[in-house]
Amino acid sequence: MSVIRIVLAVAKKDFRTAISYRVGFVSAVIASFWGLIAFRFISKLVNTGEFAGDTVAYFRYAVVGLLFASILEPVAIGTSTSARNEQVQGTLEYMASQPVRRIYLGLSWSAYGLFQSMVIAAIVLLLTIPIGFRVTHLNLPVVIAVIILSIVIFAALGNIGAALVIAVQQGSVIVAGALSIIGVISGALFPVSELPSWLQALSRLSPLTYALDALRSATLANQPATSFTEDLLVLVGFALVTLPVSAWVLERSFRVAQRRGTLSTF
């Protein structure tokens, strides 16, 4: 399929570009792991609600939330950042002249960031085992389904950010702001039940709420397979709506830029 061919080709280019800067990958692993160590100590202080009686329960909860967010963040922000980089470097206009659908370009912009963040998350996950992290119950098919659906949804969000970059030269900041709100209301760092009721209502509009709920249940709790159905169906619904909408928005942004003659403007 041409979309896979294009995504892999652009990811390979981004990989080659990334390794031409040698220290970036190691720094990212260290930073991510160091960030989690703090939560190992915070975990000792959290002895309430679902975390009562287990000094590493909150640490496990936070590891799943933060590592999952660290995978999705480059997918969403990476797309608009890559679009902006292409714009500033001067390659965006040439890419737009290539025989490829614009949505494929959008998806390709986040591919290497996703690949890198998944590798880093896997390494950091292994590093957290000696300090207390463990998967108590693993439902691998659900984990894979949640990850794939979430990537599709956040790639769509990234495409909308890229569309803003192409149309008005801004986007990454807006996506980053949206992600920080989504992260707070979706239970990345603490249970949604701790939020005020109006924010809890808002959290039901965030796909990350359902993704984290399913992911934690599929890794840290012994749940029957049927208990994931609602979360997975909601994620499928989000994916079916957001991807076509983002493809349309991205295509429109290119048309706006073509009309204004701003594809080479930054």
Binding site: A9, R16, E93, Y94, A96, S97, P99, Q258, G261, L263
Partner: protein
């Protein structure tokens, strides 16, 4: 009784042949057909009722001063700038309504050398754009090696593009434009930064492509060496394209309809 069947068959044939033609181009003798194209950007009229045509298998040169509208014209034909009015057909496809088909038909070199990826090397740049164009790996390898050799880039092709000179990057951009063996070749100021040898190499390369039936459009400031091999020469002034006296044609030029 048979009439509806015949009408149905005719309709089906029409639909099938038009779909085939959409993929291949319309089969006309014209590679580039621009009629009444105008474009204004940020309140300034850049192109004003532009009309010209380039038959297949010929080289057309449009020369003009800086700011005359040359680059905007190439951008319109490459579908990265849309015209305000008029129609532009490239390989029979309308740039406004059949952008993807146009982009499948063209190889383009913009004047901007930053359109290359500078942190990777020449072969890696060609590999990327070859894959985007849908070429097989073996075809990319073969054509890349051939183009790198033809354009005398072998010595620098495995180093980062950032370390190349402007003229070398210019040649690499032309190599990239030719990689997919496009039916229509659009070159915006391809001679910038080239020495005499590089200029001759490039002229030979595009002349060969035109002999093979490709349509070549070059926009550049006036360069005698280029206009001497052009089948049609135009001048762009204040956004309008005007025909210039013909240079010595290198082969018979098909008549325009």
């Amino acid at each position: 009784m048979l009439l509806p069947v015949r009408l149905g068959s005719a309709y089906l044939f029409e639909v099938m042949t038009s779909a085939r033609d959409r993929r291949r181009g319309n089969g006309s003798a014209i590679g580039i057909d621009v009629r009444g194209v105008s474009k204004s950007l940020r309140g300034r009229q850049i192109l004003q009722d532009v009309n010209f045509a380039v038959p297949r298998g010929t080289i057309a040169v449009i020369e003009g001063d800086n700011g005359a509208g040359k680059t905007t014209l190439v951008r319109v034909l490459a579908t990265v700038v849309s015209p305000d009015s008029g129609t532009a057909l490239v390989n029979g496809f309308d740039v406004s309504r059949q952008g993807l088909d146009v982009r499948r038909s063209i190889g383009v070199s913009f004047a901007n050398e930053r359109s290359l990826y500078w942190r990777i090397n020449a072969f890696q740049n060609l590999e990327l754009f070859g894959k985007i164009a849908g070429l097989r790996k073996s075809v990319i390898a073969e054509r890349s090696a051939s183009l790198i050799d033809e354009l005398h880039l072998g010595r620098v092709a495995t180093g980062q593009v950032a370390r190349m000179s402007t003229g070398q990057r210019q040649r690499l951009m032309v190599a990239r434009a030719l990689l997919s063996d496009p039916k229509v070749i659009l070159l915006d100021e391809p001679f910038r930064g080239l020495d005499e040898e590089g200029l001759q190499t490039l002229i030979e390369l595009v002349t060969t492509r035109a002999r093979d039936g490709k349509t070549v459009l070059i926009v550049a400031p006036l360069i005698a060496a280029v206009t001497s091999v052009a089948d049609r020469t135009y001048r762009i002034e204040a956004g309008s394209v005007l025909p210039m006296p013909a240079g010595p044609a290198v082969r018979p030029v098909p008549e325009l309809p």
